[in-house]
Symmetry: D2
Subunit: 421 residues, 4 copies
């Protein structure tokens, strides 16, 4: 397409192709440091092997785009439909989730061939108008597939960290690099007026179903901390007996903590009197100025109570973040650690909110298997906001809601304090 | 106290004494049909023996009123402090919750003596000004103790039903009586405008901490069904494969259902082609017109999806209920079954809402052990509204929030449908 | 019956009636100190409520003697057949074992009436020749019923001790009495030649099926300690790090110990620097000279290894015991504690052997439900010998085999050392 | 070494070197069909990844021979000592058993290098007299290491079968080959006189500690079936309701069966009306004439009861097998399936005996870590005899005892019937 002044301007197809190419190659880049053996590791039911992430994100394009909409498309292997479905009931039977780590076959190489096969077909479809679907719907589905794959990019590295943590050799996923010294910054507060506001996604860009509909909420005036809670503050909490003081904890949080004998964030240990932690860069001393990461909701809630403050609601966070630039330490920096270099509502660590993951007023999941994307998880999970050092920046929006169970810790989960005015 | 025209008018002390006497005697009345052996039954960790409810509600008065505020008060047995504390960390150590059914000693008779001992002291304190506490605070604590005891009245009968259900003799707690024939009523809808409203407790009467602060919420226009979902409708759901259709269920709900092999509400079985259920009146045929009861949140949510509607939020329910009279089938009727005799937002069965049990904006638990009452349960539980046939009517308010885990079914739990306008 | 010289001589019926009366009244005597509430306690699936023992032993006579053999016998309540069957598949359905503690009804009083009803019928049958069965078979069955009831007498008190141990009041089942001071006796050894011997029951008296057939075994020369291992020796094991030294333990024993955090026998605790233990006489200081009790097979085996010796096989024990008088501290002394007053192979504590509970060569269980008595337990359990302070003396024989899982501790279980010559 | 008539005769070193080379190369041959990804699979705690078997058998030589006895030996990686220790407490800390499948690093290639490194050192030591140990002891240890490795060869293939069984693709470990048609043979019986016999290892050859001391046992006359129980007989058992008839089962066996919903041997399913099974050759129709395999002790015991016979004791089996040639279908045939081609007491499937795995009279484990080899497993396991199609023939002896828990099925476990005369 050529515009009036003679310059080529990207068509929607160029846009979507660009997004597709960029997303797919980013996934490959993330799996580059992994051996075929690393690619098969699954350390718990909540996590999946890298190879499975690579295949499942590919399956998504095959199942929801190629099979229904590309005439003449031939799957590379019919059995992959079952092996790489995650939880889409309407897309047929699935392999048992907890047994994904036992799929030594298809091999990593087979999965790479599967990726190429599907990618070629998508590109072919896009570049030749071969798709049997009107373009906006198609574009929407491919965009969804790319955002879906970005979510799995984050899971790929965090699941791997979890699996590696069971290896006494504590391998480094990426080369340890000298990190910038994080300045120790005092906690300060930004104030917000609240009132009758709107949150939730609106507008043309991509968003998940659960981010809408945009809707009115009333907020009392509130404050948010300028930065996430730091490791140094967390150590103060530990040294003040935070993990042993039952009155700071939710009843259920205390029980979970006791049962699991938690007395530090996940991946911490003491060595010669100093705190160490295991990261994607391998073992490192805990940096007191960096944001604390790998804490559960129960711990975050107890910390906030100990600090005399509270967690923000998701509406408070979103209302504050909406006007700001999405600026922070995301997956794209390649650091893969929270560093806490500057004040921002974004990046470094996901921030637990006090909000349960519930449908917004008027929420209706789309028809078909795609409608299973978020809606069926809406019980017993808590919302987190802001993205982390393992989140692709492109994925972030003020309205983006991620959600985990209150006991989960293996993602890059931290917290930011809030307070009433 | 005599007023100007010579008539006796109740003083605050008379009021509180009246509430106290009424509450305490109501508890005794509820335990009257029970043998000493019935009094010790505990069928699961979530439930407690009748005897324990009788003692624990007494302990509450002893621990929070008599010990701190009645000079010279002598406990009948110092060891009861530990035996009958439930979960108040700040009130000292507690007996293991799951082992309450093993307390054959103190005997039921000992517990009755304990009740009398504490009641006499409370009455003595009130009638002689012996309390070492200013009156409003004292009145507040005794009122709290009475409402606390009313909650345990409900638990006493529902816990007993659960324990009795393991006895193949299926004993009747109370004499079976001929029930009024419930008219089959069509489902109809009441419409509400929503807008910027206030919910939460305000005013002088008693309320729990978690019912406030009163605060603004925005509601879109909505509708509520005229009555709870009936057994007949539930049977239609079952016959339509509701329990076998995974797409109707939350992911977690489906897993819990599968694991427990649920395919009916709790206490149902089929006998000679007819549905029967076990109740406090013993085994009874399921009445298709009466409200369904003993369903989990997962089931309620799946039913609502099947019916093409949804559960109300707690704000929707409260805004609708606030202007209406508290009129329904409560514990006071003595029927102890949901009967569905008339349209009302109140009574018969607790109604699951779509709202997680969270703190209201600005919520702060009171200082001290009393502050553990509700706040520490604010995760992973769902709010129910409206009271049931096992709830003392006096306990009900539009702002009253009860809460249970989404998998729990042994309380009198049902549902009412809601819809967007 | 009068013999030739004019003296009355007991007939077989008199004998069996005597045994029946004596056994039944002994059970009542054991339950006399219990309240109706105590009678219902069940603390784990392995244990049963006292009331259930009272009813089940009665059911045995009703099911296997009265129903098949007393014409016109009318059960007091048809539903008891199911409620009080333990594990006899061929005798019809059974109430769930782990829920026996929830049978508040029938009441203790109902159970006493049941006992009387069945006892009257048995006595009537015996005294009037009303039984529809030839006498030797009948006598055999009633004898079996009495021995069965004696086994439950032991379980009644040991199960009760376990249930009471969850009550922080630690009630005494019987009045604490001053115990004779046990002399500290050095360990000495008796030597046995072994050779080709016979073990197993032979002769006319009563024995369980699993005690036969009598059969040949070869034994190498061996030695047995003069007395069971004492508390003092056990404390030495503990102080020497016995519970922390993995090489002393069976692989599985170590795992069980770790999982349960065992570091003493069951029911021990330290108080002001001294070891205490909970007994049927209530809490008592540990007597260093008395036999250790409430230890698992795993612990007994580890102790023996630590001591440089081993446990005896059941054949070694039986060959040594057969010629000796059954003389020791049994249930009949009423002490209900191991005291270790004198050297004997009998009484005080059951002695773990190194023998798995297996069928003797040629073993065949009898036909019918009675055949389920022992045979179906012959896997994964270990044999113990010698009887304990909770065993009726009348029940003991040199060939008597009891058996428990290696992890169980709630019975009166101890050990005696053995060695090769 | 040259003997008098000029011929070279193998020295002990040649013998041991030959055994070592043969064993090590056989392991490599078994792992040849596996990809690097297959090499890491672990499907349950009882099983280990192929790669781990390769490394652990190497560690055994390094830990017990090279480190103590080869002056100047340098480990290739000090961390392997911990990673590849299985359960030898005295050999230092161990990696968590259930997490062996998470060791993507060291890679399969690293493990092969480790094997070469250790093999070179052992060979160097043997061929140059560099070992710091007198020869008989050394020879004994290397022989033990080779037999240990043979045990792991069997585990390698059976563990792999288990892991592969979770892969919906059901991969074949080795190429499916046309199997000889097994003749259907009638069951016949061989009779044995019994009497006072000796069993247990005696003589010069290698044996495990638990096979001795040789000792006297008395056996009544008995009979053994000419062949193991066949699939056809097992199907008859299934069709006769064997899995649904509680009276055939041990109490504990029934409970395990119910809990796991067993109604066939492991790896069986029905397809178009025919029984299929998963094998190392991939999916195959069940051959009615071949021995049944992958049944637990509980099932074997129930089958024997159903058939009106019993399992043999290990002494009965050994006494019968001792005079016979070790002739049967072992690992060396490469078939890797039980085929039942001829009558033999050996091979095809391990045969459950009625004997618990206990120490023989006079058994004493050797000093040091090697002493942990068998002794610490002597509780709750049952002995099997005869070797299977996955057992190296060289490993077999009449006195060889293997042992598994009664619930385990993943090994090549079957049964042979026995009877009294």
């Amino acid at each position: 397409m050529t515009n009036l002044d003679g310059q080529t301007q990207p068509s929607p197809v160029d846009d979507i192709l660009h997004l597709f190419n960029r997303t797919r190659s980013q996934t490959l880049k993330l799996s580059a440091p992994l051996s075929a053996e690393d690619m098969g590791l699954q350390s718990m039911e909540d996590a999946s092997p890298p190879k499975w992430h690579l295949a499942h994100t590919t399956w998504f394009f095959e199942e929801f785009i190629l099979k229904p909409s590309l005439p003449g498309y031939q799957p590379i292997d019919d059995r992959f439909a079952q092996l790489f479905n995650s939880y889409y009931v309407q897309a047929g039977p699935r392999h048992t989730r907890s047994k994904r780590g036992l799929l030594s076959r298809p091999s990593a190489e087979d999965v790479m061939n599967y990726r190429n096969h599907v990618e070629d077909a998508v590109r072919h479809g896009l570049m030749t108008d071969a798709f049997d679907l009107d373009e906006p719907k198609l574009e929407e589905l491919i965009t969804l597939g790319c955002h879906h794959e970005m979510q799995h990019q984050e899971l790929l590295v965090t699941d791997l960290l979890h699996a590696f943590s069971y290896n006494p050799l504590l391998p480094a996923y990426c080369e340890p690099k000298p990190l910038p010294v994080t300045p120790a910054r005092d906690l300060s507060w930004a104030s917000f007026d609240g009132g009758l506001l709107q949150i939730g996604h609106a507008g043309d860009g991509f968003a998940y179903d659960c981010e809408g509909p945009r809707h009115k909420v009333w907020l009392n005036p509130y404050r948010l901390a300028n930065r996430p809670v730091s490791n140094g503050e967390w150590i103060a909490f530990m040294e003040d007996g935070g993990y042993e003081t039952q009155t700071l904890w939710l009843m259920e949080g205390w029980a979970v903590k006791e049962q699991n004998a938690w007395d530090t964030p996940l991946y911490w240990w003491k060595q010669d009197g100093e705190w160490w932690t295991y990261t994607l860069q391998g073992p490192r001393p805990v940096d007191p100025s960096a944001p604390v990461v790998h804490v559960s909701y129960y711990e975050a809630d107890a910390f906030a109570r100990w600090a005399g403050h509270r967690l923000p609601s998701e509406a408070e966070w979103e209302a504050a973040a909406e006007p700001t630039a999405i600026d922070g330490n995301f997956l794209d920096t390649g650091v893969l650690l929270p560093t806490g270099q500057k004040d921002s509502l974004w990046g470094d660590v996901w921030q637990w909110t006090s909000s349960a993951f519930s449908p917004y007023p008027g929420f209706k999941p789309p028809e078909g298997a795609i409608g299973e994307y978020n809606g069926k998880f809406m019980v017993n999970q808590m919302v987190l906001r802001g993205g982390s050092c393992a989140t692709p920046k492109l994925q972030m929006r003020a309205s983006y809601r991620t959600f985990f169970y209150p006991h989960q810790r293996w993602q890059m989960l931290g917290l930011r304090l809030a307070a009433d005015q």
